[in-house]
Symmetry: C2
Subunit: 328 residues, 2 copies
């Protein structure tokens, strides 16, 4: 196995990704310099992923890079921010060779280009443990217009982007639990797990339209609870209208118990947001302009902070496992 030293690793693999943005200083100085213009404020966020916890150790290196990036892009989407660049720290186990690192860097470069953001800096360190990738993301935002969790108002509609449950079901497929699903649907679910699609354009389109927003990383019910608590409202979710992909629908038809993944499965990285009822056309227009599906899944109600999921008859579902972790 050959493996570059850190200096050569940065020079050969990562510095080229930084050259598109002169402010990264070619990753040669102690920090990147950003001239601050844009929207008058910055949104900053950080998320880490660990092999065996957030991705499978034998996932393609490029998709690991993409996932590390995209879970952070999703945080920018949730704030309505325009992503600008990322810093990347990697704790590398000895078993990863040059070919792996080159593949990782290639995938990273492709995703940076696709989302039009820059690599601004970072660090690579050795670890006796599993591969750990930590990303910090910066985005332009007008601070007082950013989307927040606390803005949901009684009477607002509750919306979600895309489809739910695919992240967790895709993990099952990636682990070999194909469950008789046709190959194209397996592949689609697996890709949703490996390469979630951050709703960056939709997030920006919702600025001035949505009253509250966040991304769904821990599962619909758990994250809805965080929004309910931050806003001090109740959220009523109508189970029958929750959007599911063809793959998820096929699996649930076969095993209705899997519907719990739509309610509680993590790793979807869709946007959950609220908007006043008089903004329905604006939401639809914004989503159409981004080519992103949005679905009205419920409403904001008065009362204690709570999340209630109801069936077609309006009866609350008895949920044994919802992924809520109020005080865990």
């Amino acid at each position: 196995m050959t493996r570059r030293g850190e200096f050569a690793l940065i020079r050969d693999l990562f510095a080229p990704l930084a050259r598109v943005r002169p402010e990264a200083l070619g990753l040669e100085d102690d920090a990147a310099l950003l001239a601050v213009q844009g929207l008058g404020g910055l949104a900053v966020s950080a998320d880490a992923i660990v092999a065996g916890v957030h991705f499978l150790p034998d996932d393609p290196p490029g998709s690991i890079a993409a996932k590390a990036l995209r879970v952070n892009l999703s945080d920018m989407a949730a704030m309505g921010a325009r992503p600008v660049g990322v810093l990347l720290t990697m704790a590398l186990p000895a078993g990863l060779d040059d070919a792996w690192l080159e593949s990782f860097a290639r995938g990273l470069g492709e995703d940076l280009a696709a989302f039009e953001i820059a690599l601004l800096g970072g660090d690579t360190v050795a670890t006796p443990g599993p591969l750990t990738v930590s990303v910090t993301i910066l985005g332009d935002v007008v601070p007082e217009r950013a989307l927040r969790r606390a803005g949901a108002r009684v009477g607002d509609d509750l919306w979600v982007s895309g489809t739910l449950g695919d992240g967790t079901l895709g993990l099952r497929v990636a682990r070999g639990g194909a469950m008789g699903l046709p190959w194209p649907l397996q592949e689609a679910l697996r890709e949703r797990y490996r390469r979630p699609v951050p709703r960056v354009a939709l997030g920006q389109a919702l600025v001035g339209v949505a009253s509250a927003a966040m991304d769904i990383s821990d599962g619909l019910c758990a994250d809805a609870w965080h929004m309910a608590r931050a806003s001090g409202v109740g959220l009523r979710i109508e189970a029958p209208v929750l959007p599911v992909s063809e793959g998820a629908a096929t699996l649930i038809a076969d095993d209705p118990a899997l519907f719990v993944e739509v309610l509680a499965g993590g790793d979807d990285y869709e946007l959950l947001f609220t908007a006043p009822a008089d903004q329905r056309d604006a939401v639809a227009a914004g989503a159409a302009a981004c080519g992103t599906l949005v679905t009205r899944i419920g409403r904001v109600e008065a009362g204690e902070a709570a999340v209630v999921v109801v069936d077609a008859q309006g009866e609350p579902l008895a949920l044994e496992r919802t992924g809520w972790a109020h005080d865990a």
Copy 2:
């Protein structure tokens, strides 16, 4: 062993550290929002540390927090930036209990307060591997005035802050290699390893005075080589004038071979910088105002990018191990 869930961990231990800065949104939203004012630009940098690699697993939790913060503060010092805040991601092994985490958070809070910076966000994830702490730091800077590695000019003086070799020698002491040193000197060296002192005030004082700067993390010779290469100059270092602490001097008197740690030992986090000769008074005045020792250790020479260390007679030292990793 009791251990809080992530939600409670953030609520109980980390959110209180963020409350001093409203833009962190109490760590409740998907990102922190920074209103950008200040100096018109941002310096951003990230560094990770791993248990068993960059610190000892049984180091006090508070000093691990301090080290993670300070190696990043040192990058801000190297750019002449004013640190504003940090994002922290932690990969936590199962063996760390609440008491450990509380101690970590307390140490983090003390250091954040001491350096007047805010916790702006982050992430905690589980890992089957060693504790890994990754910090991204943001600082205010006037982009065109920031200190860079590439500014050294032929004829400039070469300077260093503080004393050299203490980081590596402190690690030896922390590992139990006390080598007959009196206790207070042992303690001083160990503290230098555990809690490096980032030269934040000096870095800002050098803006407009120094022509180039960087921090020494990989060892004097290795980092001087990076500056030489970035600036396209030779750096001549006079070994006899290199500043050493009382503890280091005592150890070297006992075993002269340890002098190599002054030249090549890592983890010092001192500033290496160049300045025109007509700025000597300004350098001295800036350093005095910060209460930081600075020493003129050589000069910038014409010729190929290179680092030469000379003895009292001006003869180049034959260095077997200098920590240089030109292309490793």
